[in-house]
Symmetry: C2
Subunit: 238 residues, 2 copies
């Protein structure tokens, strides 16, 4: 699918670093738009539309906030520029972990939108929007978006739900150090937490090793059977 990609002149303090682009289809009528695919979510689930923009484009990083690294949330392409300029190897590496090009961030935002619409209980997008997203990322498989970590289904309603002030669905990375569309999806909050700093490949290897030790009868000094018990309590927990 061909996109317009004309330069959009923004007013952000960070716009000297990158050139914003139009992501409408090429030869579109009307004005250019950086996030044309978010118009519908902005109406029906504005909190999610903001979340997708924020998670796709902004860094997080309370753990490494510092004068040298800059504030917690900056555009990922600013982090990329800062990483290039950083003199401390540690800061450089930390900034690179969260950094991404403008183009990758834009791909992530659109991919997350495509993914959200395929969740159980997702709203139905206007036909032209579905066509646009399918043109970029492939046909919808309705009700089939899964947590990238546990691979169980995600429920669109959980975007609005929260526990102790935290959303139940988070944006997650198959490899936490790569922010691009192939590597980003949604995950249950507790799955994202469990994955921690590991890639999914590492995470699966880790939990396989745990199950192996449990099945081998390796015990620690607590009353903790390696039982195959019902998972019904998990539902209460989520």
């Amino acid at each position: 699918m061909h996109l317009c990609h004309k330069t959009i002149f923004g007013r952000s303090q960070f716009d000297s670093v990158i050139q914003r682009r139009c992501y409408r289809v090429s030869a579109h009528s009307g004005s250019c738009d950086e996030y044309p695919y978010l118009d519908h979510l902005a109406e029906v689930a504005p909190h999610l539309a903001r979340k997708i923009r924020r998670d796709a484009t902004m860094t997080t990083g309370a753990a490494w906030k510092s004068a040298d690294a800059g504030p917690n949330r900056t555009p990922r392409w600013v982090a990329l520029a800062k990483a290039e300029a950083a003199t401390s190897p540690l800061i450089k590496a930390k900034l690179r972990e969260k950094a991404a090009s403008y183009e990758d961030c834009m791909e992530v935002a659109a991919k997350l939108t495509w993914s959200a619409y395929q969740m159980k209980n997702a709203p139905t997008p206007p036909a032209h929007l579905q066509e646009y997203l399918e043109g970029r990322f492939g046909s919808f498989d309705h009700d089939n978006t899964r947590c990238i970590v546990c691979r169980d289904y995600l429920d669109f309603n959980d975007f609005a739900a929260a526990r102790r002030g935290r959303a139940l669905i988070e944006t997650a990375h198959a490899n936490p150090r790569m922010h691009n569309a192939e590597n980003v999806g949604f995950a249950h909050r507790e799955c994202n937490i469990a994955q921690g700093g590991l890639s999914l490949t590492q995470f699966y290897a880790w939990i396989r090793a745990i199950i192996q030790r449990v099945d081998d009868g390796v015990s620690a000094d607590v009353d903790a059977p390696g039982s195959h018990s019902s998972t019904s309590l998990l539902k209460d927990w989520r």
Copy 2:
């Protein structure tokens, strides 16, 4: 093994709630002592001795701090008394989760001490101390204390190590809602985080289900093979 259990009169603001006891062996010489088994760690690993006392006896609970629930850290037996008195069912339940009797807390402190001395690279306790701890919790199995979650070995040196200001070993609960010696042990920080609010039984059921979906070829929309790759990178992560 018979313990002295004579009342010790303390000066803590909370001592009206409970009677502190002596945990030296019965008919000991010299003065009574609540934590006689921590003297050696207080010399060779004072940070750990403080950690054992704190984790065994004090609540944590930033997530539910409130005027009604009281401050984050109070003795667990105070939380127990507050839980009895609480009128809000939610606060009562939250307090109960972290609450424990003085006697259970004392058992936990001694059990954690016993466990720490059996880690790889642990210091060797004086003979009388090992005898005391073995009398209470069973014979030492040197270098064999494992993380109660992943069941891999724990290294005593990791008590002193930290990453981003957080200790690499934490006190953990097989069932997070029960604070007693049978249910408490040490765990890797990332294992404790991954377990979250689940019991170990639930946690193992959860990760079994994940592995099952990965092995069944269930995929999410990211580049994440369900590979059986090497776990060598895990070592870097820890």
